[in-house]
């Protein structure tokens, strides 16, 4: 009956473990999909800040400024939008993606700011662009028609690309050909260039339009966005580079405006212009998560996670979140491997200190402290002090030692010595006390063995928790701690041999009976 009870405890814990694994797996999937968390510690994401500064001189009482702005772009997600325009009414024209500024009775030069923070997020979804109306052939003179046909003939002779690409290539090649001057751009501006190509494409009923895009370059300032061509072919809008006919938006480009409407429209003002400036900054993935969660309509779930807490609390929790894993390591080392250490969680706390001090300096500094502490403790042992005062002595001695080492370390500029300050005082004192008692009662060999085991466990724990990826995963996917909880509980029912027992009892394995 007792055996079945034992079996069922194990069984129940196994079920709970499986459930927690399923929950964690779902949660991890959810966080990656909707919050944009990643399994690797990508420390920062590039965030681009684009400022569009509109300036103009007012000429009448009523002013209306319309600025085309990016919508959800192919390559980017919008982090935040900001408009600075004192005394203007702001509205947004969702259909054409324009910001409208309405002002009254303004005098002197006006400056309006539109600020956009975006970050790269490659989405494979096609942006839903409206299907265009059928394009009518432009009305052309006889001569123009001749030249148009000639262009198309040349274009057809091109080897690579679709119709649009072929046209762009041909126009680039024949730019100076006088026999086609009527249909080719006169001025060498990209706007004129694009307009002529639109005309050529219209001749074959291919809808096309101008798109204005800004290339993101650190510290860039420009009055004129770059012009690209967008053409509708085979049932989809595609962007084309006017210089070489390459399809698609190049890396780090953002489209501000597409179609017939202008980039900037100022009514009741003159001398208007828009100035773009680009700045690059960085943000942590956790910071981005909030926006991703919002974008995916999962914000209420996000709000109650640890990632919306103030940074200080987050950092404390990030530190705490690594503890369960360290505890798991200790449990495995003690109950499955069978390493006996001083105190159950002493090695774990030592490992935590090593993370702060750095590995080699920490180990050396700790050894120095233990050595000096043991020497001092041996001297004091002769005084036969009572227990509590004696341990108190060791604690105070350790505090003074830490103080001394820190000062010396600072003076001689050695992080090796000054890392003393990161070791837990009570734990250090306790190790010294315990070691000195073991030394008296069981000799140096056993003491050194115990210290060695303790340090070994601390080192193993250190290597697990000092891994940047491990720390990131335990914080970003903190539901794993529930899995660890059940693993630890399940290990509490492990009745197999510890690894060290296999050697210890080896002589009993040889016999048959």
């Amino acid at each position: 009956m007792k055996l079945t009870r034992l079996f069922s405890v194990r069984k129940v814990l196994s079920y709970l473990l499986v459930l927690s694994v399923v929950y964690a797996a779902y949660s991890i999937y959810y966080k990656i999909k909707y919050w944009g968390f990643s399994l690797t510690p990508k420390t920062v994401t590039d965030v681009w800040r684009i400022d569009a500064k509109v300036t103009f001189e007012p000429t009448s009482k009523n002013i209306r400024v319309a600025l085309s702005v990016p919508d959800g772009n192919e390559n980017f997600d919008i982090l935040s939008e900001d408009i600075i325009a004192n005394g203007y009414n702001i509205s947004k024209d969702e259909k054409d993606n324009r910001v409208i500024f309405d002002g009254k009775n303004k005098h002197g030069k006006q400056s309006l700011y539109y600020r956009l923070n975006i970050y790269e997020d490659v989405k494979n979804t096609q942006i839903n662009l409206q299907k265009p109306q059928k394009v009518e052939r432009p009305i052309l003179s006889e001569e123009e028609q001749q030249q148009m046909k000639q262009i198309w003939e040349l274009a057809r002779a091109q080897e690579e690309g679709n119709k649009v690409q072929k046209v762009i290539k041909t126009v680039n090649q024949e730019m100076t050909n006088p026999s086609m001057s009527l249909v080719l751009p006169l001025k060498h501006t990209s706007k004129a260039f694009a307009e002529k190509i639109i005309q050529i494409l219209a001749y074959k009923h291919i809808p096309a339009r101008i798109a204005r895009a800004v290339k993101l370059e650190e510290g860039k300032k420009t009055e004129r966005p770059d012009i690209m061509l967008e053409a509708y072919l085979d049932n989809s809008w595609k962007l084309y580079d006017l210089n070489n006919g390459n399809i698609g938006l190049p890396d780090k480009w953002i489209v501000f405006q597409r179609g017939g409407i202008s980039l900037l429209d100022v009514r009741g003002g003159e001398d208007s212009k828009v100035m773009f400036s680009v700045l690059k900054s960085v943000a942590t993935p956790m910071k981005m998560a909030e926006h991703r969660a919002k974008a995916n309509d999962k914000f209420s779930e996000y709000e109650y996670s640890i990632y919306t807490l103030p940074l200080l609390e987050q950092n404390t929790l990030k530190w705490l979140m690594i503890f369960p894993l360290a505890i798991l390591v200790v449990v495995i080392l003690r109950n499955v491997i069978g390493v006996s250490t001083m105190g159950t969680f002493t090695p774990m706390l030592l490992a935590m200190s090593l993370v702060k001090t750095g590995f080699i300096p920490g180990l050396i500094c700790f050894s120095i402290m233990i050595f000096l502490g043991l020497v001092m403790r041996a001297v004091v042992a002769k005084l036969n002090l009572l227990l509590v005062p004696r341990i108190s002595f060791v604690v105070i001695f350790v505090i003074l030692l830490i103080q001394l080492l820190t000062i010396i370390g600072y003076r001689i500029d050695s992080s090796l010595v000054s890392s003393a300050i990161f070791f837990p005082i009570i734990i250090t004192a306790w190790i010294i006390e315990r070691a000195s008692i073991t030394w008296e009662e069981e000799g140096a060999r056993n003491t050194l063995k115990e210290i060695f085991n303790t340090l070994l466990t601390a080192v193993v724990t250190y290597f697990v928790i000092n891994n940047e990826t491990v720390r990131h995963v335990m914080f970003a996917f903190n539901e794993l701690n529930i899995v660890i909880l059940f693993i630890v509980m399940l290990l509490g029912t492990y009745t197999g041999y510890r690894l060290t027992e296999i050697t210890r009892f080896a002589s009993l394995a040889a016999k048959d009976k």
């Binding site: 069978g338 009572l386 227990l387 492990y494 197999g496 041999y497 510890r498 210890r504 009892f505 394995a509």
Partner: protein, 313 residues
């Protein structure tokens, strides 16, 4: 790796009890935590033992408070030899054996000459918890010394040999004798270098002996042939173990027994979580034995009947 798995499989076949298994399947099941207090306090254990007619070294007195320390001389009046030990000590920590007291100087068993002040200090340290589990406040127990039987004179170097009986559900399950060596410094703990001698539970004769987990046949210091060892008053030894179960209710316990020249076997202490080294000393797995007791041994017997059952089956 494969070798380990193979060894583990053989250990399992031979019924060797591992530490995890002991804690989970035996101690957690049969040793109620509330019973621990009965064996943690040696004064309490001694009283319980006397109630049930288990002989123990006679108590001379106890010192509970620091201000009573100076009463030591009055307490030990008329005794030339006595032992001071912490009531909550373990593994022989803080045990001071006084071989001779001439009214001015104390002569310890390890050959030291101690002044009043030094002995008082020792008692004082004991009270403040220096030797007790977890460092809590303790009581100093003063009892008569054991007159060790000469039977084991050649088998132990400067120390006290004792018999450890593992008792499972009241039945003596496995027995070993622990002998002090030069290395173990008068103590008989195996991990400190004492010799462990596995004894046949039916006869009290040597099965095999180990030193540092390796088989030996002669004592490293005295040269005595360990195979010749035979513990006298064997039934009485086992009976103390069986009675310790009646006394404490612990399903799994280790009783430490010494042989007195005049009074026969006496119980020193009971351990609620005895170690597993006894398996190495006996060359046998304990689990096989526990299983045998679980499955074959009758229940509802008195201590005497249990001992007889073990001796005859």
């Amino acid at each position: 790796m494969f070798k380990w798995i193979e060894t583990a499989r053989k250990l399992r076949e031979n019924g060797v009890l591992g530490m995890n298994d002991r804690n989970y399947s035996v101690i957690a099941k049969y040793n109620d935590r509330s019973l621990y207090t009965l064996v943690d306090d040696k004064v309490k254990t001694k009283k319980l033992a006397n109630d049930i007619n288990i002989s123990t070294p006679k108590m001379i007195g106890i010192i509970e408070h620091q201000y009573e320390v100076k009463n030591l001389v009055d307490i030990v009046k008329g005794y030339k030899t006595f032992v001071i030990k912490p009531a909550h000590g373990s593994g022989g920590k803080g045990v001071l054996v006084i071989k001779d007291f001439d009214g001015e100087k104390f002569y310890s068993a390890s050959g030291e000459v101690l002044t009043f002040k030094e002995v008082y200090q020792h008692v004082s340290n004991t009270l403040s918890g220096l030797f007790s589990l977890g460092g809590r406040y303790d009581v100093a127990l003063i009892e008569e010394t054991v007159n060790f039987s000469d039977v084991f004179k050649d088998f132990s170097y400067h120390g006290i040999p004792d018999v450890r009986v593992i008792v499972y559900k009241g039945f003596p399950a496995m027995v070993m004798m622990r002998l002090a060596t030069k290395e173990s410094d008068g103590k008989a703990n195996l991990h400190q270098g004492g010799v462990g001698v596995g004894l046949d539970v039916k006869t009290g004769k040597t099965l095999r002996a180990v030193l540092h987990d390796k088989p030996v046949t002669i004592h490293p210091d005295t040269g005595a042939n360990l195979m010749d060892l035979k513990v006298p008053f064997w039934r009485e030894h086992l009976l103390i173990g069986a009675l310790a179960y009646d006394m404490t209710g612990l399903g799994y316990l280790g009783a430490d027994i010494v042989l007195d020249k005049n009074r026969g076997p006496m119980m020193l202490e009971v351990n609620a979580r005895p170690g597993l080294a006894i398996q190495i000393a006996n060359g046998k797995g304990l689990k096989t034995r526990l299983k045998e007791i679980d499955e074959k041994f009758p229940t509802g017997l008195t201590a005497e009947e249990r001992v007889d059952y073990v001796l005859n089956n």
